[in-house]
Amino acid sequence: MRIELQPRLNPPRWLGFAAPVAAVAVALLIGGVIVANLGKSPLDAFLVYFVDPLTQDWSLEALAVKASPLVLIATGLCFCFRANLWNIGAEGQFVAGGACGGALALATHGADHAGPLGGSWILPAMLLLGILGGAAYALIPAVLRVALGVNEILSSLMLVYVAGLGLDYLVRGPWRDPAGFNFPVSVNFDPDATLPTLIDGASLHAGVLVTLLVVVGAALVFSRTMFGYEIRCVGAAPRAARFAGFDEKRLTLLVFALSGGLAGLAGVMEVSGQIGQLQPSISPGYGFTAIIVAYLGRLQPMGVLVAGLVLALTYVGGEGAQIALKLPLDVTKAFQGILLVCVLGADVVTRYRVRIVGRVMA
């Protein structure tokens, strides 16, 4: 007995849509078994995780606010992953972007809105710094790969911890609020350094709109531009890309800068729109979860938008489950991991026909 994988020459189109849906269904089943083993009702858990967050205004807003960084980061990751480059360090680039943008907010803290240091230039400048910070941080593994052949998976992953500990140091040290009773947090950002909300008194901030614009733009880049074509080409057949005259090194630097820039933008929008200050940790693992989002969305910006909402649901629902069912946050993380495995498995089934072949004896 052995399992044979036969490549499908023409995978039917519906399979491309059905596979992620099936992956989610299988992940739900496995998740249900886990929850049942923890002594809770899988049905209750399903309702708390996936239905309750969709029933109330505040939780729908929370969904959009949580989905926004996931979608933004995952859209950036599409550029890398499509080119067969493995940027696993979006979490670090998110932190670097948040820290760079946040640094400006802290530097201009307390300035008069009408004064020389204050004003409405601060927020755009913060966003720009966030993008530059994330891009610069992502360029470290990219340059190492291009110049020295260092594996970008390892270097980008390890830089996550450098960024996290760096922010931790800054917030506990130089950036700590002097009037903060020694809590390791910065001062609260001024209104000039805060993303406006879309609805008064709600948590839905303007960053959500930025994310939507980026998704539409990225979809156009992939389908309509030579740059998108270059990325697809380098990822699908590097030798053909060289034959086309595309410069793989230049492209490596570009896609890393792009994906790091978008992760950095997500980071600065998170600190400016959601948290409102700098803390030792500014991300519940968005940069890693975004990898799942990118795959669940089949590395297509529009798919990523849907997948980001699904994963955001697990975050919002996971908070509800902690309260209502006393299920630990780790269940949420485990579920996200199960989902990734199912998505990758579904990918294999999409591209190959799986046959179990009985081995005949001679």
């Binding site: 023409n10 699908a236 030798r239 053909a240 034959f243 026909r353």
Partner: protein, 526 residues
Amino acid sequence: MASLPGSPSVRTPAPLVAIRGLSKSFGPVHANRNIDLDVLAGENHALLGENGAGKSTLVKMLYGLLQPSAGEILWQGRPVVLGSPEAARALGIGMVFQHFSLFENLTVSENIALVLPPERQSRLDARIGGLSERYGLKLEPARPVWSLSAGERQRIEIARVLLQDPKLMILDEPTSVLTPQESESLFAILDRLKAEGRALLYISHRLDDVRRLCDRATVLRAGRVVGTCDPRAETARSMAAQMVGAQIAEVSSRGGAVGAERFAADDLSLPAPGLHATALRGIHLSVRGGEVLGIAGVAGNGQDELFAALSGERLASDAGAIRIDGRPAGRDGITARRRRGAAFVPEERNGHAAVPGFALSDNLVLSRHATGEVSRGGFLRGAAARAIAREVVETFDVRAGAPDPAARTLSGGNLQKFVVGREILREPGVLVINQPTWGVDALAGAAIHQAILDLAGRGSAVVVISQDLDELFRLCDRLCVIHDGTLSPATATAETDRDDVGLRMAGTVPSPPAGTEVASAPVHAH
């Protein structure tokens, strides 16, 4: 193994192998349908057919690598099930594959020991020496494989099979990587095997080789047996017609005038790009408008490295090392060279000349994005790309199942017609093409040859790199030979012949009198 008694009632001996009604399908594709085939002991039996005719599928079933969907295999009259290559070898079936499976960094005898039951090295070396005496199969057991030529590597594969004392040997395209002289010494070995009563199943598309070697030939087309013939009573042309099922058009040469130099390499040298790659040393070539220059050579002598240097995938260290229309281009990348009117077709279709998963229109963009109408201001013009791809498909008779299919769904011949047509439709001033008809069926091959000659007839300069001497003699005005990264001076095709080119492919500068001395590891009977 089934243990039915044989049927010795018939007076004529049962064939060594009898294949009865064998079929194999992969999903909807029927690779083999209802094949009947006999191989007698002591017979050299040829299996003929175009690429995709089902030859490989058939021999893989015979060697236990694939299981038939229907039908049976009789070994000396008894039905057998060949579940694995081990089972096939246990019966006495051995196979020499087209692609060698050797470890470059191990020695000859280590590579042989790998496939045999454990035995003492000295005993094995003695047995390898014995092969040399019995069959003229000359091998040096202590040599590392990386230092060997293709012909020598093939002898290791043959030795591996012979040391298992097979009754039936299957050889898949054994001469495709050999020089004419190396082929001849292979045939000498095979003749001795036949004299010992061993049977041979010989797959080749080189019909002259088949005529030289085989007693009987079975012709496959589209997975079915379409005929059996005596190769010696046929001509290469009549057998080709059976394989294709149609007469192949003669390629007609053009009568264009030869113009000024359009493409040249001048003292082009490049270090080897990798451990087992070849360095280019002092390459000189010059092609004029209206002229086809051929570059012959055994695979692995620097053809790929030369193509990369001529196309600009790798830049020369000096701008003057490459000239297009008289102006230096050595430091221009492939895109800049295309803008100056050059076009290129690499050897490997899948993954080099085309992206298998891309539609044909997307594959058109691959080499046309800098020169055509398919992109503007950084944006793709999908409609224009589709229109030009359609034009290529129509002009070059590319048979595709769908309007704009993925490249991987096309057969080798059709995809090759597309990638050649993609370049030729641009009317390039210079065309460099590597192995233009490698793995392509005869009809598509003839169409590609005609397109190359027509292009030269319209005043373009063409460089053809090929291992196929027939192709080179058919197409080229002048020929040179690449060996170990150096290029011989070009000689007019009319003033040279296959033996001369073959000797130069083996790295020997032929002496003016037609001497019998061959310097490259001659296989003499001792």
